[in-house]
């Protein structure tokens, strides 16, 4: 029996796959089970939002922003409206600011729950998916009562928010916070000590801060390496400077740290929601804005701490009511660039674990 002839195989992890991230294609060169080279191919969901935005008024662009990072629609809305408001120097009523913070932090929580559910589903565990989505239903139900939609809310407007809370909404939101805390404890009991899970994610997909900074990573992907960089604290916008919360960082920069960062950020979001619910004043929810929004000529860049990283909006305006150029700095797009170097030398099953931990949403990768 002679030597078995082996050769490298070019394999395609196609745009349609059971991993729930969306239409991402990864072309890998494998030698047995070990990956030698990997290349992500994106663009299967490129819908041309930026080109469409050149023909729409700012308020009309807000529904399109919902569909960029569809798991965190409120945060996307927030990015666009804060960018326009900063460009136009608009005053926003206090109640609107508080409502914005409440919904954005609840949205962050929901997105992290979806991350938990889908990441563990990728790794093979069915139950956390069901528990995570059951809790998501409660929050989405709150959002449904507030703005009429379950996924793409179109809630914020330049100058405030569109609708005030219906009766009983604030009480239900207050009741949700302790419920979520106990659910979180249950989820930790279910997942965090599980030996199979720990074996699959500890020590996998490590990188250090210098690599992360050079690649422009942001959000949890940057903080898991140990650098404390959160735009809510470092470049405060809206009313985040009034709330007391910690910035969660990891230690090693591996997949386990990213998982723990996600879970701990849920705790921090709950803290912020609690404080905002206590401090919310009465008042109008929409400020005085002109009927037709005209951003003064010039260019502006403003970024917020979106759920997956730094979500920035770059507006070039000629003084008209439609932008001349609107560009979204999308965190998932930039974060995905780390994938090729993380995958070299890993096995195929680790590919799924690493890809899941980068936490991308294809709507945001492709715009």
């Amino acid at each position: 029996m002679g030597e078995i002839r082996t050769e490298e195989l070019l394999m395609n992890i196609g745009p349609q796959h059971p991993s729930t991230h969306g239409v991402l294609r990864v072309i890998v060169k494998v030698d047995g089970e070990i990956i030698r080279e990997a290349e992500p191919v994106v663009g299967y969901l490129h819908r041309g939002t930026e080109k469409l935005a050149e023909d729409l008024q700012y308020t009309q662009i807000i529904p399109y922003t919902d569909r960029l990072d569809y798991l965190a629609s409120m945060a996307n809305n927030h990015a666009l409206v804060t960018a326009v408001e900063k460009a136009m120097d608009l005053e926003i009523p206090e109640r609107a600011e508080h409502l914005r913070v409440i919904v954005v932090e609840l949205q962050r929580l929901v997105s992290h729950l979806v991350f938990l559910g889908t990441y563990l589903l990728d790794l093979g565990a069915m139950s956390p998916f069901l528990y995570a989505f059951a809790n998501r239903e409660r929050v989405v139900d709150l959002f449904n009562r507030l703005c009429g939609a379950r996924l793409t809310y179109n809630y914020m407007r330049v100058g405030g928010v569109k609708w005030d809370t219906p009766d009983g909404w604030l009480e239900d939101a207050r009741a949700f916070v302790p419920h979520m805390r106990s659910e979180l404890k249950m989820l930790h009991d279910l997942v965090s000590g599980n030996e199979i899970f720990l074996n699959r994610v500890k020590g996998i997909g490590k990188y250090d801060t210098a690599t992360a900074l050079g690649l422009g990573l942001s959000g949890i992907n940057l903080r898991c390496t140990g650098l404390e960089w959160d735009l809510r604290k470092n470049k405060p916008y809206s009313i985040y400077d009034r709330f007391d919360f910690n910035v969660i960082t990891g230690k090693n920069g591996d997949c386990y740290d990213r998982y723990i960062c996600h879970m701990d950020e849920i705790v921090e979001s709950l803290k912020i929601v609690e404080q905002a619910l206590e401090a919310i004043p009465e008042g109008p929810v929409m400020g005085k804005v002109p009927k037709i929004l005209r951003v003064p000529a010039g260019e502006y860049y403003h970024a917020i701490e979106g759920v997956r990283g730094e979500l920035g909006v770059y507006i070039v305006s000629e003084g008209k009511d439609k932008p001349y150029r609107l560009k979204f700095r999308r965190p998932s797009f930039i974060n995905l660039q780390v994938l090729p170097q993380l995958l070299v030398g890993q096995s195929m099953s680790n590919l799924i674990a690493i890809l899941g931990a980068v936490d991308i949403v294809l709507g945001e990768v492709d715009a």
Binding site: G14, T20, V23, Y64, F129, V140
Partner: protein, 187 residues
């Protein structure tokens, strides 16, 4: 969805055929089988009932509608009670639920997946992007509706359609399968 009633009237030459068209058989064979009577017709109906109650869709979630599809399959609105289990491979799937925008880059892949599915197969277009291009209809890179690429059976409007809407659409698909098994052509 109108149902064309085919009463087997032999003297009406321009009407629907006076025999039930069985799949996989030629016209003469179908006529022979109809003459054989009740048993074969019931067999088709049993097949239709069995297929409709265990639809196994292919996971084809492109965009936001995919999250609602996942949410429908999850705890609160369960899809498993309808017999719907999501399969990853097209070779093992009965139907494909196109959830999300189809871009020009993705369209050949959708076509290939559809061709890889074995007969009988059905297609559900979920959401306005898959139905007609949705909010991105004027974009340069979006296919204006999945039916430009593959034939669609049920369209579910919404952006995204809420889980009850998706369940209603799937129920309609189940009805369509059962009605078509009885020999009635359903549009």
């Amino acid at each position: 969805m109108e149902v064309n009633n085919n009463e087997p009237t032999i003297n009406n030459a321009s009407a629907q055929p006076a025999y039930i068209e069985f799949e996989g058989f030629t016209k003469e064979e179908s006529q022979e089988l109809t003459k054989a009577g009740v048993l074969i017709g019931t067999l088709e109906q049993i097949k239709g009932w069995a297929r409709s109650n265990s639809l196994w869709p292919l996971t084809f979630a492109t965009a936001c509608c995919g999250i609602e599809m996942m949410g429908t399959g999850a705890a609160h609105y369960d899809l498993d009670r309808f017999g719907i289990i999501f399969r990853a491979s097209p070779r093992q799937a009965d139907c494909v639920i196109i959830a999300g925008t189809i871009t020009k880059k993705m369209a050949p892949i959708l076509k290939r997946l559809y061709e890889q599915m074995p007969e009988p197969k059905w297609v559900v277009a979920m959401g306005s992007c898959a139905t007609a291009g949705g909010p991105y209809v004027r974009s340069y890179s979006v296919v204006k509706g999945a039916d430009q690429v593959i034939p669609v059976d049920v369209y579910i409007p919404g952006c995204p359609p809420s889980p009850p809407a998706l369940i209603y659409g799937l129920n309609k698909l189940q009805e369509k399968i059962r009605l078509e098994a009885k020999g009635k052509k359903v549009r």
